[in-house]
Structures are given as C-alpha cells and as structure tokens.
Amino acid sequence: MEIKSKIKWSEYNKEIAEDHFFFLRSCIRQNFNPGAEKAFISILKNNLKKDIFDDARHTTCTGIGYHTDIVPFETMQTMIARQFSLMTEKGYKNCAVSCITSFGSYNEILSTWKEFPEELAKTRDYLKKATGREFEIPENLSHGCDIIYKFRKEIAAQSNYKLINIETGEPLKIVDHIGCHYSKIFPEKGVGGFEYSKVLTEMIQAWGGQPVDYPERRHCCGFGFRQYLVKSNRSYSISNSRKKFESMEPFKPDAIITNCPGCNMFLDRWQYTLAQIEGKTYGGGTNGIPVFSYEELAGLILGYDPWKLGLQMHQVDVEPFLKKIGVRYDPELKFVGINGKYINEPLFTGCLK
C-alpha cells in the first residue's frame, strides 16, 4: 500500500469522469430530499451540458440492509452487479452515485473483486442464474459531490448568487460534514483523502463562501445504521450529532454543507430534537443552522427556485439563509401543493416554536 504523507494527502485528487454518467440514486436522499436528486440531474444536463442517464429499472443497492447486517455480502455484491449490468446494457462506463453508503459499498465490492477474483466469478454466476444478466466493471465511479466539485468553477461562472452576505459583503462561514463512507474506508477514493477532504470546502470557496474548520469536522453524524433504525438505540445517534454541533457552535456558521443524504437529514432533524430536549438551538433564536447538500447549494446559487429544490422539506428554516445571500423567492409558495393549491402548513419550522 502506498503511504501518503500529510502534504500529499492535502493535495490529493482522484480521477473523476468528464461526461456520460449512469446515475445511481440514493434511498435516503429520495425519501428526505427528493428535490436534490432532481436538481443534480438538471445541473448536469442543463447547466453543464453533460450526458447523464436516469434508469427507472435500478433499485436499492441494499447498502443499508448490509450495514444493518440482514443482507449478506454475497447478496449485496449481486445487487450491485445488477446495477452495473443496467449500466453496461445502456452503453455507459461511468457511474455517478448519489448515496454515500452506496458509494462505500460499490468501492468495497470493486476492491473485493480485485483482491479476490473468485468473488467476482461467484457474483457473475449468481447474477446470471438469477436474472440472465452479464456486466462490465465501470471504468469510473464517482460520487455526485465529486462531479459537482470537478465543475465547481463552471457552476460559479453561471451563478446568480454568491455565498456572500449581501448586507455586509462578507463571505458566509460554512462548515462541512463529510459522510463517513465517502473516504474513511478508502481514503484514495475521496478528493483530499479523508483527513484533508476538500471536496466540499473547495466548492464553498469557489462560490464565494468561507469554509470553516472545526475540531469534530471528521466525527460521524451518528447514523450508525441499527443505532438509528431501532428506536431504543437512537440516543447513540443524537449524541454523536450533538458532539458535532457543540464543536461547530463557537465558529457561528451560517450553514452546514454535507455530501451524504443521511447526514444531511440527521444534522437537520437532530437540531430540532436537541432543542426540544435541551431548549438549546445552535443557530441563534428559535432556528438552527441550515443544512444543505452540495446539489441544493449549487442549485441555489444557480438561481433554482428554493421550493422546487425542496428546501421547504427541511426542519431548520432556510429562509434566513436565503435572505443573507439575496435569493429572490416567493415565501407564499413555500408550503403549497400541486398547481399552487393550499395544503396546510407544518406546525412550525426551525427548532423551537
């Protein structure tokens, strides 16, 4: 194994494909931030003029089932082989992965197949027997954040807004949170490795903001798979997020940016839950620190409508952030349904009523 020094890791870049992506969706992102995936495809197609194929036939990779230990490794290998088979069938060679758990799983399996060719042979056999399918191994596997990172300057060039406070002219202070399975398992698969990850901080810089380091930047959000999914274990989950919030609080960040669908949801929801338990918010007043995924933030600065991006689906209210960077939006449309019809409103947004 190549040993990389601190300086080399901080300069480390990975191979990210230029064009022609086969899109692999995320279960969690589709559930909680469905507008983000829609925006990702739109940014690639309409803003960056890239080719990305969205195949209705692909399913869960079963990564959450694998990490909750109900899905055997052999089954997940075969499920992922099926995704690759769909990609092969459509003539694509580059995967764009939306989910961080999936990204870690794809990389784990590609590494296994390299180290243990018999596992690859077994998987080919299982897939053939189960579905009649065959597959090629992708030439490039990038996470969605890698692709947005690669084209961050092109996005900046088209932006309507910058991550700058329009009243003070100061760059907004933004903390990042990197999903554990992006580069903790395979540091060489992440931009900047794990310790010196720059995949999100360089987006912030390119779009006018100021990335802020904080001591627990690398700590897990606390999802913990079974630790959240079983209700009686959730104190594990919230305790880990609390540790992060306490660590970032002194830096008074204007927002949190994440690359992981689960982390994005947890860092949003746990601020509400902690406020309900402890009466404390981390964003001042009754609101918390707004949490954005990289697609949401890219969409915002490109001028996408915040309610089409799905930012009304966040518990922490994003409107103070929108006002800071001067986004033109209609607050009356925040909670409307299909065709603009009124569909009731949440009891409250933010962390405390």
Partner: protein
C-alpha cells in the same frame, strides 16, 4: 451450533481484508464513536478474533457487544496496519445470526425488528427506506415538517418534481414488477432469502422459548415484536 465456528469465521473473505497482525495499539478504540457511547472496545474484539479463542468468540456472538458498532468505519482510516474492526464486526454479526446466537442478547434480538422494516422494504418496494414507513408517531425526532410532508405526501413530492409511486424514472418512482422479480431472484440465488429465513426461524424459536405463543402453540410474532420494541 458452534462446532465449526473458527472455520466458518475464517472462510469469510472480509476477515482476510479486515484483520492482519493487529498489534493491539488501541487507536480503533480511541477514535470509535461507539466506544465513547457504550462500554465497547473494538481493540479487544480484534485481539479475541485474532487469537482464535473459541470461548471468547462464542461469548461475543451471544453478547450485546458486537451490536454496539455504528459501522462508521473510522477505525479503518486510523489503523496503522489498515485493519478494520467495523468489518470484523460485520463478520461476527453474520455468524451470530447464522448460529442463532443473536437471540441471546437484547441488542442482537433487534435484528428481527430490522428485518421487518428494512428487509420488508427491500423485497416489497425495492428501496431500503420508503416515506410511507417513516410514520411520524414512531419517528417523533423527524419533527413537524416531516409530519406535514407525511400528511401531504403526494402533493409535496410532486411539487419538488419527484415521481412518487408512479411508473417511469425519477425520484421515489415505483419499482416495477419485472425489476422486483429480478431483485427477489437475486436474494434467492445468492443466499439473501435463506438468511432472512434464518433470522425469522431463530426469532420464532426465541419467542416460543419466552412463552410468546398463540392458541395453537405457534410463535406469536406480533407479541414478540411488541416485546422487542419495549425491551
């Protein structure tokens, strides 16, 4: 039950990747979020498995300990020898379920709850998570905005351009029967379905052992589920 436990442990290729000459330095424990929260020490687990100490390994399979890990894999990044306690845990958890040992611990028994939710979602919908199963009453941490989304699901998802439960591509689309059949066939051929059956089988035995039976003497799994939720 445990006759070939060491052999079975060593046949998992993941153990070859996860454990090579652990020197017991403890950095995995130092960095581990689970070790901070629970009485949990991944270092000692790596050492027990490396030593192939049969009694200690059986104790682990029957304990809460192996279920404390949150699978963040921070241990992998920090280990000077590229070992991964989180992956060793995955191997132990698999063995615990194959042997039925998981029903001997409170945290292990929770696998039945996970099978009922995540397992059912995978097989019936093609997703690990589906918004209809994130019920606000059992997910109070999701807050009032999620409650609003849940109560107005089709409107909210449509507004953001999703394709909830509809045919064709898009976010949260319905996975059609051909694709679900392929998924189910993969589970049958690759051992996933057998593994589900194994978790079910040992959970039913545990329910019977605990006296949770119906009028025909069969396991009352609804009662067992309610017990696990309160345990």
């Amino acid at each position: 039950m445990y006759s070939e436990i060491i052999k079975n442990l060593k046949t998992d290729v993941r153990l070859t990747e996860a454990l090579q000459a652990c020197m017991n330095c403890g950095i995995c424990t130092a960095v581990c979020p689970a070790a901070e929260f629970y009485e949990y020490d991944p270092r000692s687990i790596a050492v027990s498995v490396q030593s192939e100490n049969r009694e200690k390994i059986i104790d682990l399979l029957e304990s809460d300990t192996i279920w404390y890990c949150g699978q963040c894999m921070s241990c992998k990044t920090r280990c000077p020898r590229n070992n991964c306690s989180g992956l060793i845990i995955s191997v132990l958890r698999k063995l615990s379920q194959e042997t039925g040992a998981f029903t001997k611990s409170r945290m292990g028994r929770q696998q039945y709850l996970i099978l009922k939710t995540i397992g059912n979602n995978i097989l019936s919908r093609g997703y690990c998570i589906h918004p209809t199963t994130v019920v606000p009453e059992t997910h109070p941490e999701q807050g009032p905005v999620w409650k609003w989304i849940y109560e107005n699901m089709h409107d909210v998802y449509a507004v953001v351009g999703a394709n909830l439960d509809c045919d064709g591509p898009g976010t949260m689309r319905k996975i059609n029967s051909i694709d679900l059949n392929e998924l189910n066939n993969i589970f049958i051929v690759s051992g996933g379905m057998k593994f589900f059956d194994t978790i079910n089988h040992f959970s039913k035995l545990k329910a019977i052992e605990m006296g949770m039976v119906d009028e025909y003497g069969e396991a009352d799994m609804e009662k067992y589920t309610q017990y696990l939720l309160q345990e």
